[in-house]
Symmetry: C2
Subunit: 345 residues, 2 copies
DNA sequence: CTGAATCACTAAACCGGTTTCGTAGGTTCA
DNA sequence: TGAACCTACGAAACCGGTTTAGTGATTCAG
């Protein structure tokens, strides 16, 4: 069928071993024969059989990504597809491939990793949606898989992290609102067991405290539109209702924006809103969303690179990517007068 | 390291070959020894080494999916993540795995498939975003890969298709609008070189013709929010501007909805809008979107199953999934009076 | 001039399975 | 009783690479 290493050896008049050494740049072949072997190999159009290589070297030449989210929720998150595209762009240059697994539930997730490891499907994994005390860190060590985490988990982790600090973005959005005269600025947070849910809340808290404002207007949601709308309803029902809301992602912000408008609350006249992600949709809303622009493609590209480096024995420290930037839209404006804000009806 | 087939053979006092036959249910081993071998294997906790199996059987135990879309666009499409979750749910039950590749541009796409095939990374592929005359059909045949297509391409295809007919959904939405008294119903279509872009336009045309209405209010867009907004702007600028717009997906519909509102056009009072996909976000908009509910998870599950059947030599005909259903929201309402609709300012 | 070290390469083991081929032992039938 | 035929299994080839051990020729030091 296809041309094998034996064919090359035969044609070049050398042994299989010599061909292997020649092509892997190992010592043990003279420059002249190496050149001849390379010539013959390219003439014959030989490409090493990846499966044979995988068996003899005990490598997979693949990295894994286990997505543990509700598929319905997943569909609305702009992060993953873009992130994966970034990962892929690095992998393809290194003749690696991405094995994607989706797993729902704690058990299923662990099983997925175990199966990937046991079957030797991957050499390493990318850990996304990192949780505050993430059990996967220990699991990867047990399984002997290489790994990278997106941002640094709170506990001890021996794996490199690729960090895109959301603190400055959220703090910037909060300061932006404070500068506009807002005082009652709420935060609708994401799932707090995720480190990015947690860090965004803390960033908001920090900026509020620094601005001399209270941090009692917090609602924990879970990054979904449904939760975003519910949290907004909750906040707007309050006696001391906020004049601005910092949402932990665009999806919740859009749901919140729509909910407010459905209640006759004008954005940004009565209520200012900020999101996080800078979804394509954000700039086409009415009003366009003030949000924070991340770069998931870059994140994916770098995460994959760090993982590959690790597989090559190169072990650097954490990498910190450029901070996401605030993108001003029309959903934020000057704080309404107190009286007006508290008596909407 | 790990326990191999030789260990089992040794422990059971038989040869490697006997163990292999016993575990694959082949003839050539007596029932008694088969039972003994199975017992020993399970005692030793033996699991066949997938890489060795892959080499000797020339199989990959994996299927591929090449996504050829702009990553930024991808992020906003709810289809893929849910579809992939469905695919995965079938694969995991069969000890298969999904290899995901993202490729931008015609050349890159073809290269991706060639590389997957050459490296023996996958046994078959799932073809999504099928184009009207899709060159990938011939390519897969050339490469000797199994395949399934989502919906049936127009040209000849020897591969099974898993179909979810969008005709009835779009036609239903159009009829719904006609029943509400609309006469100038526009369609903002998706990329027409995709069969689903094309079929949705035809479904709209068919329903319009059957309703005795003209089909001149058509704008081709490309499924993005930007294009949806631009197409809406185009339509609303017209002298004979529509009183309703059928969008080919939710993303464009949401952008169109927002654009109309930003122009002071009330939805649904002045303009009715329908989408397609039933994104989570759709029901949390203001007004909630009338849209069409598809089941991408089911689609993925079935597509993967059909592909696996094919790999097992079982070759059935096309499978037709239940038709997507119209979901009524608040974005559609009775047609405004003619005079009002034509003199908005 | 000789023993040791180096070089360039071959032969063969190895990774862990599958599959073909050969054969010992028992059964069937003429 | 012997030829023909199964059955049940072992031995070994095979998939296509990598890696180690070994060998003959050359180089070098003493």
């Amino acid at each position: 069928m296809s041309v094998t290493i034996s064919d090359v050896a035969l044609a070049a008049g050398v042994s299989k071993g010599a061909v292997s050494h020649a092509l892997n740049g190992n010592a043990g072949v003279s420059e002249s024969t190496r050149a001849r072997i390379l010539q013959v190999a390219s003439d014959l159009g030989w490409k090493p059989n990846l499966r044979a290589k995988a068996l003899s070297t005990s490598k997979a030449f693949a990295v894994g990504l286990v997505v543990a989210r509700d598929p319905r929720l997943l569909g609305t998150d702009p992060f993953f597809p873009a992130f994966i595209a970034g990962v892929e762009s690095t992998l393809v240059e290194n003749d690696f491939v991405l094995v994607l697994t989706s797993a729902m539930g704690q058990d299923k997730e662990e099983q997925s990793y175990r199966k990937l490891a046991r079957d030797g499907r991957v050499d390493g994994v990318i850990l996304t949606d990192v949780r505050v005390r993430d059990p996967r860190i220990a699991l990867m060590q047990e399984l002997g898989l290489a790994a990278v985490t997106l941002n640094r988990p709170e506990g001890v982790s021996s794996f490199p992290a690729v960090c895109m600090d959301d603190t400055e973005g959220i703090a910037g959005a909060t300061r932006h609102l404070i500068a506009l005269g807002h005082e009652r600025i709420a935060h609708v947070g994401g799932t707090q067991s995720y480190i990015h849910g947690c860090s965004r809340r803390r960033a908001w808290e920090g900026a509020m405290v620094r601005g001399g404002l209270k941090t009692d207007l917090f609602v924990e949601a879970d990054f979904t539109a449904a939760a975003g709308a519910a949290a907004t309803a909750d906040l707007l029902r309050r006696r001391d209702r906020p004049t601005a809301i910092v949402f932990a992602n665009d999806l919740m912000a859009i749901a919140g924006l729509s909910f407010a408008q459905s209640q006759g609350i004008a954005v940004p006249a009565d209520l200012s809103i900020t999101g996080y992600d800078n979804t394509e949709l954000a700039s086409f809303l009415n009003p366009p969303l003030t949000t924070i622009s991340t770069d998931p493609v870059l994140w994916g590209r770098v995460a994959a690179q760090v993982l590959l480096d690790q597989l090559n024995g190169v072990r650097g420290g954490d990498i910190v990517l450029p901070e996401p930037q605030l993108v001003l839209g029309g959903s934020t404006g000057p704080a309404p007068s107190m009286d007006f804000a508290n008596s909407p009806d």
